[in-house]
Symmetry: C2
Subunit: 365 residues, 2 copies
């Protein structure tokens, strides 16, 4: 609490930016995108009176080749030298290797880790978050299980008993890091005020954030677009031109929308016009590793497997699009929806070698 001051009565009720009323933000994750998120947020907490200046960032501790700890280097140089070299995060970003400590004073948590870590992180945080905590997930690529997709936002909400929004969009971290113009979408469930608060926390002159009341739609876009990017990569590999590629992207967008709405009738059409929808799809189908490896796959006439090409081209990273396509295929065939989603189905059938790459443009409907 700030010390009591003698103030004229008429100003006594004014918000004084009292320390106890200010929101404290912790970013859980410190990879490429996590570091950029911390930079965006840190520029805003300095500027906005309703937030504490300090942004805490949980860092999975690593020992650098120099023998130093990554957190020490981030805190002394103000740079994530491993995952976002050359970019100053803001000197109000504090790296913390201790997850529980990093979140204990926070009332706003930003989750931005690889999705496979989230279950473990949630387990560690059960009972350790403040009452009234608000969360947002920037994690793309949840799994699509037979019984429905395993949404990261739901995992967080259910495990920690807190509300969770999502932020998705056409967000290539390195481009936003150098302050190139971009947009993003915040998906929220009911509380518009909370959505506006997240929008405030992330928005800058070069990063425009819009809220939409549709968590599931926004989050599904971030996963399903990778399957469409595989299709776009096939078209590139077959050298079919921009016309065909645009058609395939459009069919992909339509299937993303139809699939999301079948699973969650609350999903809105308009969400697919947002940055998380059409813009992220465009970015992913123009660049991105799903597109790139799929292009190589088609160029090789499907004779070299995705596993082989991934190993060669991606230094151990795995393609999300291929596994999402497999998961989707299981859902579609289990529910009898295969004919409704010819593009999704065909991507899987091509990537497993059952159909040739040229099948991506064969729709006799």
């Amino acid at each position: 609490m700030a010390p009591a001051q003698e103030l004229p009565p008429e100003t006594e009720a004014e918000p004084l930016g009292d320390a106890a009323d200010k929101s404290r933000v912790t970013v859980v994750g410190s990879g490429n995108w996590g570091s950029v998120a911390a930079k965006l947020i840190a520029s805003n907490t300095l500027r906005l009176p309703s937030f504490h200046d300090e942004v805490r960032m949980w860092v999975f501790e690593e020992i650098l080749p120099s023998g130093e700890k990554l957190t020490d280097v981030i805190n002394s140089t103000n740079e994530n030298v491993k995952y976002l070299p050359g970019i100053k995060l803001g000197n109000n970003v504090v790296a913390d290797p201790d997850l529980e400590n990093a979140v204990k004073d926070a009332n706003m948590l930003v989750f931005v880790t690889p999705h496979q870590f989230m279950e473990g992180i949630c387990k560690r945080l059960v009972g350790k978050v403040k009452e009234g905590m608000e969360a947002i997930s920037l994690i793309k690529g949840m799994e699509v299980k037979m019984e429905g997709p395993c949404m990261i936002s739901s995992l967080i909400s259910e495990q920690l008993g807190i509300n969770c929004c999502v932020l998705m969009g056409a967000n290539i971290a390195n481009e936003i890091a150098v302050e190139k113009f971009s947009e993003a979408t915040v998906g929220y469930r009911e509380n518009r005020d909370i959505a506006e608060k997240w929008v405030q926390l992330f928005s800058t002159s070069y990063f425009m954030v819009s809220p939409v009341q549709d968590v599931e739609g926004v989050e599904l876009c971030g996963t399903l677009k990778n399957v469409v990017a595989i299709a776009a990569g096939f078209v590139d590999g077959l050298e079919m031109g921009n016309n065909t590629k645009a058609a395939i992207m459009r069919i992909g967008l339509r299937e993303m929308k139809a699939f999301s709405k079948l699973l969650f009738p609350s999903v809105k059409d308009t969400t697919f016009f947002e940055s998380c929808g059409v813009a992220d799809l465009i970015t992913t189908c123009l660049g991105g590793r799903n597109r790139k490896v799929a292009e190589a796959f088609a160029k090789n006439g499907g004779k070299r497997s995705f596993d082989e090409l991934e190993a060669e081209m991606l230094q151990g990273q795995k393609l999300q699009g291929v596994s999402t396509a497999r998961e989707l295929y299981e859902v579609l065939s289990h529910r009898g929806w295969l004919e409704l989603f010819p593009l999704f189905a065909t991507v899987h059938e091509i990537s497993t070698g059952r159909l040739p790459p040229s099948a991506i443009v064969e729709y006799n409907r």
Copy 2:
């Protein structure tokens, strides 16, 4: 009429493909896209019993360097050697240099000429078209006048007193000519049966056509996308990356939708998910001459005018995007809508030198 035949009573009422009941199609125009349209249609009139095999194509007569008439060469070689060399149109396509003769027996007219010729063509056809004639316009790029856009489909309807649909989409003529997979959208006003007939007439295994009840939305897409392509070209020239480009394309799509709906409240959101909307926008922003010249404009820091770059890069062709942006700007400023359409307004302000190309990503809203 076919001669009366002795038929068992139960088959008498069956459609016999009687010559008088069959639809006769004439394509008015024979440029690059017109020739491809004739090829698509001719493959279908042969196959479908409800159409006469012959497809008449009105050709603006030219004398080729060989001294031969273009129509004679088309009719003897079955190729439009000037505008679509190397592609067989189908030997049921008949080139006709006489406009009135070409349309006199038709009951379905396909208009596909440069848009500036349409007023003159309509004048020549007044009173010369059959009763019950149906028309479709494939012409993109009508003018946007202060009192509203001058839709080509309305011009045709009003001048000739006939119903007119439109067909738009991500359609690079040369790619469809070699049968690369593509899509298109038919916009119709009320009569779904007519729309289905046009869909039948154009659809092939590599050209998928869908009907939507929204003539204005479909037709406006074909014009407004050129303005967005100018914006995308600026981003390319500034080398801002795919992320920024995707954001600009999305904002452009949003302004296309909002502008169309302000002018015509009947315009549907879903139209912008069709080939005429998002797919045509993608194609135009990836390739296309509007994008290309705008890229050169931005690379030169706006120091060389569009007129100069057009003259140098396009061999006398004019960019539709620049003039459409000017027309749009007039409408927006006249109606007090400039602030609602920052991207449209900024494109015009950059292309006239009032703002630098970098302004394309400056939206402090």
